[in-house]
């Protein structure tokens, strides 16, 4: 039996209803993902305050470390003889241990590293060793890296969140005029959302 134009039209209407339903489902899922993004963002904000707190404590401890280090440096001469004598005996052992480790684990360019290490040890002072200078340097280096990484992450997030704010708040989830409680997950200026609200007239 041939299908009439009217039947084709009815079938088209029927199929369109299904597609319409699927678009609505997609929008619902988008809304769910949006909620998840907001939740993740809340967790991120909590983490950020913990980071700020840890940063403050770390900086205080670093300042104290620097302070003590500077004061100690001012009285470097004391015990220098004892330390220098011990340092002369420490160096060969340190070199040997390090070279063994390097040959066993790192397996490349031992010759070059050996020369560099010798130079490094000869230039280092026992006092630096005594005050754990390597640990202080390592801490300072970490501090610089951590600050840099945090800055870059914050910068990325600020850019991403301003886009997300526009996306979720202004264009696709506009605020109801009667809303008194604004809500904004990302930026500091709260706004409302409406796109998926049943009373929305946005789509029309």
């Amino acid at each position: 039996r041939a299908i009439s134009d009217k039947e084709l039209q009815e079938m088209s209407t029927e199929g369109s209803k299904y597609v319409n339903k699927e678009i609505k489902n997609a929008l619902k899922e988008v809304k769910q993902i949006k909620t998840q993004i907001e939740q993740t963002n809340e967790e991120r904000k909590l983490l950020l305050s913990s980071l700020e707190e840890a940063k403050k404590k770390k900086e205080d401890a670093l300042n104290d470390t620097r302070d003590s280090e500077n004061k100690l440096k001012a009285s470097q001469g004391v015990c220098n003889e004892t330390m220098t004598a011990l340092w002369e005996e420490c160096k060969p052992c340190l070199k040997q241990t390090c070279m063994k480790f390097y040959a066993r684990v790192c397996r490349s360019g031992s010759g070059l590293v050996g020369h560099q290490l010798e130079e490094f040890l000869n230039q280092s002072s026992p006092f630096y060793f005594w005050i754990n200078g390597d640990r202080i340097d390592s801490l300072m280096e970490n501090d610089r890296e951590q600050s840099h990484v945090m800055d870059v992450m914050e910068d990325s997030f600020t850019r991403a969140s301003s886009i997300m704010d526009e996306l979720f708040q202004d264009r696709f989830f506009p605020r109801r005029p009667q809303d008194t409680q604004y809500y904004s997950p990302f930026s500091s200026f709260p706004r409302g959302s409406l796109f998926f609200n049943p009373k929305s007239r946005f789509a029309r």
Partner: protein, 217 residues
């Protein structure tokens, strides 16, 4: 309601969805930027087998990695234990203060690293959600370029054929050619008669699946 409303203008998918798609992509790119730019290797705080590679790198870089091995040399240990209290009582006190603040700073530095890692993970989670959002929306956003006509149907049926009208089609199957919006024609075959109650639902489902698959590709 996203069905066309006859008295008003049809829904313009280009205006509605394309910016959405573009913005999700932009947000995701911004979020991922830091990972591509600065892959942060969280520092090693203790000398263990697991971080050998980092120690090798430190040794190659400026030899400081070797100082991590001081515990294995007796004379090096003795330097750390030198007591200068006899000649300078303040020096001993200062050294104690230094060690205390150093340990504290190391502790907070490790804590900061852990928090930083969690923070980075949260950003990755957000980025993943944006990616999911993008994938979820790609098929709709792709409609942008295909919905420029004023056609009132989302899905239009063009031809319906079964074994009786086309002997090449196996018996019991129905072949339908449809267009979603003004996309390319999509051919779907369903194991049903036109008269079946959910015939069009199955046709539309299959057509949409094909459409989504192709949009995603």
């Amino acid at each position: 309601n996203v069905m066309p409303f006859p008295l008003l203008e049809p829904l313009n998918f280009h205006d509605v969805f394309q910016p959405f798609y573009d913005m999700i992509r932009q947000a995701q790119q911004a979020m991922d930027a830091h990972l591509q730019r600065t892959p942060y290797h969280f520092p090693v705080t203790e000398f263990t087998e697991n971080n050998d590679r980092t120690v090798c790198k430190e040794i190659r870089h400026n030899s400081t990695g070797c100082l991590r091995m001081k515990d294995q040399c007796e004379k090096c240990q003795e330097i750390l234990e030198v007591d200068c209290s006899a000649s300078s009582p303040t020096q001993t006190l200062l050294r104690q203060q230094l060690n205390t603040s150093l340990q504290l700073a190391e502790k907070f530095s490790r804590l900061y690293d852990q928090l930083l890692q969690s923070y980075q993970q949260k950003m990755l989670d957000t980025s993943t959600l944006l990616k999911q959002l993008n994938e979820q929306f790609t098929w709709v956003s792709q409609l942008a370029n295909l919905t420029q006509s004023d056609d009132q149907y989302y899905l239009q049926v063009f031809t319906v054929n079964s074994h009786s009208s086309d002997p090449s089609i196996p018996s019991g199957l129905t072949k339908v050619v449809v267009k979603l919006f003004n996309s390319f024609p999509i051919t779907v075959t369903v194991p049903q008669e036109v008269s079946s109650p959910n015939f069009m639902e199955n046709v539309a489902e299959k057509a949409l699946q094909q459409y989504r698959r192709k949009s995603h590709i």
